[in-house]
Subunit: 208 residues, 2 copies
DNA sequence: CCATGCAGTCAACAACTGTTCTCCGGGATC
DNA sequence: GATCCCGGAGAACAGTTGTTGACTGCATGG
């Protein structure tokens, strides 16, 4: 159904993507509220005024980045929750999935972790809304599992939120070990696994 | 023992504190990496060059703010962990303590939540180091409780870190409800309490 | 094939930034 | 009481910032 884009629109999306990529790279060592419009256009190799053809402001750019970054995070969360095997195997698989995602999209993870509590209100709200949607999806997924019998929807949502937050926390810790010895990464993976295990145990004994 | 400060040093500390206060207020709607030197001096009502008499750079100011903000958080964490009563009472008390602290020092909480993953490396590292110290203290406190029997030091530290992160998470959520209806705050307190309860249950069944 | 639309350019604007150097006044020290 | 020390003021520097308006070339739709 997707109509083949004309040369024109294709080029526009291309430079728009260039803006997003350049911004994510610049945001490696600063936060969105200090990201300058000219700074981005310079990195893209385009006139400052071209920015306005794609975004109203840097905050607008930020909201677009939220979709980009959380778009890549979304399938990861789904895969993490619906992993197979017994409890410990599932946890190990989930932690490995997170580590792999951080390797593949470090800038995405960094952006979300940084701007979730960052200084730009619209971006904060966009991230919060999307994460709430993720938690809702996780809740729905958990509800299909047999262990969820007897759980209220509210408690399931609480658990889902705990999982989502824990994933982000873990991802952020992995991020800090990107250029650190392998031993450090193993340590992070170990602690994250034990945290997840404790939550799993709490989940198992929640009722009664 | 403390020698009475001379007029000179007293005045210096006074304006230094004015810098910290002004910075915290400005950081309400932006992040440290976008905080300008002149911006701060303007808020204090002092010449731009006076800044250098107290700090080398804005990153240096940030590190000083870490001590200020975490200094106020420290006793709160201690009180939270060593609260009295049965499990549910302790949890309710802890959540209330957190809510009260957010009311009393919103700017401190905001600063820590924002800059913990923020764009200024030295500040990030300072926060991480202090939080690690907090977790260590919590571990030591937990070790004195009878429920900790049979726990390895490593597992206790894992639990302590989980508590610390959960406190910050909860505090950050309370922060977002500062100018929201009371109902919203109650909702946050409820979810936070249930999270803590799940963790407590996991803790109780961790062994065996 | 021609007219319209639109991504991107260019020049210019006032306002702002961090940093240096020089200077001043008054508390501190002997 | 003379001297030194030092927190702060002032002026000036070269760069940077966001935003404007009028322009150009080219893909598009009639």
């Amino acid at each position: 159904m997707s109509h083949t884009l004309g040369i024109r629109q294709a080029q526009k999306q291309k430079t728009r993507q260039a803006f997003l990529d350049a911004a994510l790279e610049l945001l490696e060592e600063q936060s969105l509220s200090s990201l300058g419009l000219r700074e981005v256009t310079r990195a893209v190799g385009v006139a400052p005024t071209a920015f306005y053809r794609h975004f109203r402001s840097t905050a607008d750019l930020g909201v677009a980045l939220v979709e980009e970054a959380l778009g890549s995070l979304h399938p990861m969360i789904g895969a993490t929750v619906s992993a197979a095997g017994d409890s410990d195997q599932r946890i190990a698989g989930a932690v490995e999935l997170i580590a792999h995602h951080v390797d593949a999209y470090p800038a995405h993870v960094r952006f979300i972790a940084r701007e979730r509590h960052g200084g730009v209100q619209p971006v904060r709200e966009a991230i919060g809304a999307q994460l709430a949607r993720f938690a809702e999806e996780v809740r729905a997924e958990l509800a299909t599992h047999p262990e969820a019998e007897g759980w209220s929807d509210d408690d399931l949502l609480m658990l889902a939120g705990l999982y989502v937050d824990q994933m982000l926390m873990t991802a952020s810790l992995f991020l800090a070990t990107l250029d650190a010895p392998e031993q450090e990464r193993a340590r992070v993976a170990d602690v994250a696994s034990r945290r997840m295990r404790l939550i799993s145990i709490g989940r198992r004994h929640w009722l009664g």
